[in-house]
């Protein structure tokens, strides 16, 4: 058991912990938008750590593998955008917000558009 192994396994454990955290958030939080918070942040963070651990493992055994760094960059760039797409499609298909929600400015703009369309027709 050397220092490099300890570093790799710490990264692995952090990654698995955050993946589990994302799944728990997906179960526990009340509505789609809050679940998209958990799925978009924690799962991404966990997977970034898992891939980083794999990269370090292969680096310590003597192979520099840049494709894994590319995968980390790709996940980091695309995960917030896909959570935006999920929550936007939820809002456009009229998924209601959680009961305790207070404000919904986007709903008002939708209503304004509908009124405009009604006036035009």
């Amino acid at each position: 058991m050397s220092v490099t192994e300890v570093i790799v396994s710490i990264f692995l454990l952090i990654g698995a912990f955050f993946s589990l955290l994302g799944a728990l958030g997906l179960i526990r939080l009340p509505d789609v938008y809050n679940r998209a918070h958990a799925a978009g942040k924690s799962s991404t963070f966990g997977v970034i750590f898992l891939i980083l651990a794999t990269f370090l493992f292969f680096l310590f055994t003597g192979e520099f593998n840049a494709k894994l760094l590319l995968a980390i960059l790709f996940v980091f760039l695309t995960a917030p955008l896909s959570s935006l797409m999920v929550s936007r499609s939820a809002h456009r298909t009229d998924v209601p917000l959680y009961d305790k929600s207070i404000r919904d400015d986007l709903q008002e703009t939708h209503k304004k558009k509908e009124k405009k369309q009604q006036k035009e027709t």
Partner: protein, 158 residues
């Protein structure tokens, strides 16, 4: 900016020819000399020095990673609470950013900050719609978005 990089490369290659050492350390030495000479002559070049802009890009990337880590630590607190009690809501945030790249960067940065998630972008790019978990304490979030994020993005792209 590209003009300065080209001049820097020319100085580096010229240094390689001058010392007749066609290796990577020779190139790096020449590049450092080029940076120094560009720093000395920066008064005569109309554009700002390009490493300054590179430094701003680096601070923006650091901001991304800081937001990612703080939001995940916040997520731990949120999910392991006994009863999640919060009052979520969607609010509109007016922005001054115009082009597609700037809007995408702002959306990305907002989605990574704790307890905020961007839901939609208005068609004329004047507003962003943001879902926040605690809408009571949203004033500080708006302040940080306005003061630090937009400022940092503008300094990089303009």
């Amino acid at each position: 900016m590209t003009f300065q990089i080209v001049i820097n490369l020319i100085i580096a290659i010229g240094w390689m020819f001058f010392t007749e050492s066609y290796t990577l350390p020779g190139f790096i030495m020449g590049y450092i000399l080029g940076i120094l000479s560009l720093l000395l002559l920066s008064r005569f070049i109309s554009d700002t020095f390009y490493l300054k802009r590179l430094f701003k890009v680096a601070t923006l990337i650091g901001m991304f990673f800081r937001a990612l880590i703080t939001s995940n630590i916040d997520m731990i607190k949120l999910i392991y609470m006994k009863k999640p009690e919060f009052e979520p809501g969607i609010f509109a945030l007016p922005t001054t950013l115009k082009s597609d790249l700037e809007i995408v960067m702002l959306v990305h940065l907002i989605s990574l900050t704790p307890r905020t998630l961007s839901v939609a972008v208005a068609r004329d790019h004047s507003h962003l719609y943001i879902h926040a978990m605690d809408i009571d304490s949203i004033g500080e979030t708006i302040d940080t978005i306005k003061s630090s994020f937009e400022q940092a993005i503008m300094e990089v792209t303009r």
